[in-house]
């Protein structure tokens, strides 16, 4: 069902269905399937070209550094805020439930495990998808419709290497670091919310929270965000670089970058969680 939903959204956002106002189920289904397969086919070709461009010298280290700053440092306040809010909400919500079941002492562990294993990585990815994904989609879309990407290609600079590979790599590198920041803020604010309701020292909170935690509880969920970063970067660059129809197209690229990247992140999360559980148990 999730796959079907994503195919539907991909078909709609690829723009092929939006021009046809008349409703004919056969034509609609045909157009829908063709545009969905076209979208996935083009995405596959885009990924292959991107992969080759990323491996071929000269490597664009200066641009990669600039993109890491753009995607990493500039997303940090938003990610920290989202992480902090998650910690507070988790603390408030679970406290009541745990008291009801007589398991109040598990509150620190519930907060820590919820944040590091699932909510931290996913919320960070969704925030970055909203901020950086939309930014990349709109920026590259605008460059496409104003012929800046053509100008770059005419200057013998590969836009896949200079624009796309650097952004995709920056997303993949920055997501795990942003997740660490989000986790830290979430756990800290979880403690603040707990201690306001019932005073507990930070040391005791952390000791209780991390008592049974293993590296395998922490490393795989944090590293899976690199995959989320790849997804966000690839989808945003792909949608941006295939923009057509002027400023309207730029808006559509920004929106579709966020929607598709968020959907694919959620889908990838399902797959990766299953994979992590089967490997690390």
């Amino acid at each position: 069902m999730i796959y079907l939903g994503i195919v539907a959204v991909a078909a709609v956002l690829s723009g092929s269905l939006t021009g046809d106002r008349s409703w004919n189920p056969v034509i609609f289904t045909k157009t829908f399937l063709v545009s969905a397969f076209e979208w996935f086919g083009e995405l596959g070709l885009f990924c292959a070209r991107l992969f080759l461009a990323a491996l071929t010298p000269p490597y664009q280290f200066a641009e990669l550094k600039r993109q890491c700053d753009e995607i990493g440092s500039k997303s940090l306040p938003l990610v920290a805020l989202a992480g902090a809010a998650t910690g507070v909400v988790l603390s408030l919500q679970t406290r009541d439930s745990l008291i009801r079941f007589g398991a109040r002492s598990f509150l620190p562990a519930v907060i820590v495990f919820s944040i590091i294993k699932e909510s931290g990585p996913v919320i960070t990815a969704l925030v970055v998808s909203g901020r950086a994904g939309a930014g990349i989609g709109a920026e590259l879309g605008s460059m496409k419709v104003t012929e800046q990407i053509d100008a770059m290609e005419a200057s013998a600079v590969d836009p896949f290497q200079y624009l796309a590979a650097t952004r995709v790599l920056a997303c993949a590198l920055m997501l795990p670091l942003l997740t660490l920041a989000s986790n830290f803020c979430g756990i800290f604010m979880g403690w603040v919310a707990s201690t306001l309701a019932e005073p507990i020292s930070l040391r005791l909170f952390l000791e209780n929270g991390f008592k049974n935690a293993l590296l395998s509880d922490f490393i795989p969920p944090t590293l899976k965000t690199a995959v989320f970063g790849l997804i966000i970067g690839v989808i945003a660059c792909f949608q941006g670089m295939r923009t057509t129809r002027g400023t309207e197209g730029v808006g559509r690229s920004a929106t579709s970058s966020v929607v598709l990247a968020s959907l694919f992140v959620i889908l990838a999360d399902v797959v990766l969680v299953r994979l992590i559980l089967s490997v690390w148990g």
Partner: protein, 246 residues
């Protein structure tokens, strides 16, 4: 020194879906020659220019630049050819997140190993040649359309190309600025002895700098020659185009 063929286009065809844009264009440009490609809007002039640098693929026919068939080149060889070509886009296509200085420096940074001091000297020299050396730190959005074209021209000249391609260099400009840009192209032609293909619908400007005019209509070349040749043409479309243009 005898001039040689730099651009050879043979029986070039290009269509978008059902719409045929170029229907068997054949064109030759010699070294040091400036050819103006004229025609109404939507007759495939810009498409022809983009095919000359393989920003668009052709459907059939061949394009040779300095003897190299573009369709047979791999990415590295194609980029080596592209370094010999400067392209001025219709809307200048300056990188809007970079300053005027950074725009002109971009090809130098990517393709030369000069020191930053030498690069700065070269950027200033290029911008001075288009009278834009006082706005180095401005963003493209902070300068006028005519100034953007000048900066675009400086960027196109950065790697000392053998060929310049101009896509509507005077479109959207007031008559005085359009004349200034035309004279700038003429000066470049006289100083640097480069070959150029200028796509335009502005006959007055083309008269300033072009050695030869090519008139396109519905994807075909309908007339070719000097301005005097075209003026004497009996072809109804040529007569109408020149009459309306003047």
């Amino acid at each position: 020194m005898q001039s040689h063929l730099l651009i050879e286009v043979d029986r070039l065809h290009k269509a978008f879906g059902d719409q045929a844009v170029l229907k068997g264009i054949t064109l030759r440009v010699r070294s040091g020659e400036t050819v103006a490609v004229l025609g109404r809007s939507g007759t495939g002039k810009s498409v022809l220019l983009k095919i000359l640098i393989r920003l668009l693929p052709s459907d059939s026919g061949t394009v040779r630049i300095a003897g190299e068939d573009l369709s047979q080149l791999d990415v590295l060889a194609l980029n080596a050819i592209r370094k010999k070509i400067g392209f001025l886009f219709q809307q200048a296509a300056l990188y809007d997140s970079m300053t005027v200085r950074e725009n002109v420096a971009f090809p130098l940074t990517k393709h030369t190993k000069t020191s930053s001091a030498d690069q700065e000297t070269r950027v200033r020299e290029l911008l001075a040649s288009v009278e834009m050396d006082r706005d180095l730190d401005k963003l493209p959005s902070q300068v006028s359309g005519g100034m953007q074209k000048r900066v675009g021209l400086a960027r196109a000249l950065a790697l000392d190309p053998e060929i310049l391609l101009f896509d509507e260099p005077t479109a959207g400009l007031d008559p005085i600025t359009a004349r200034e840009i035309s004279e700038l192209i003429l000066q470049l032609k006289q100083k640097r002895k480069m070959s150029a293909v200028v796509v335009t619908h502005d006959v007055q400007s083309a008269m300033v700098f072009a050695d030869r005019l090519v008139l396109l209509d519905q994807g075909n070349i309908v007339a070719e020659g000097t301005f005097a040749d075209l003026r004497e043409s009996r072809e109804p479309f040529v007569r109408k185009f020149l009459r309306d243009a003047s």
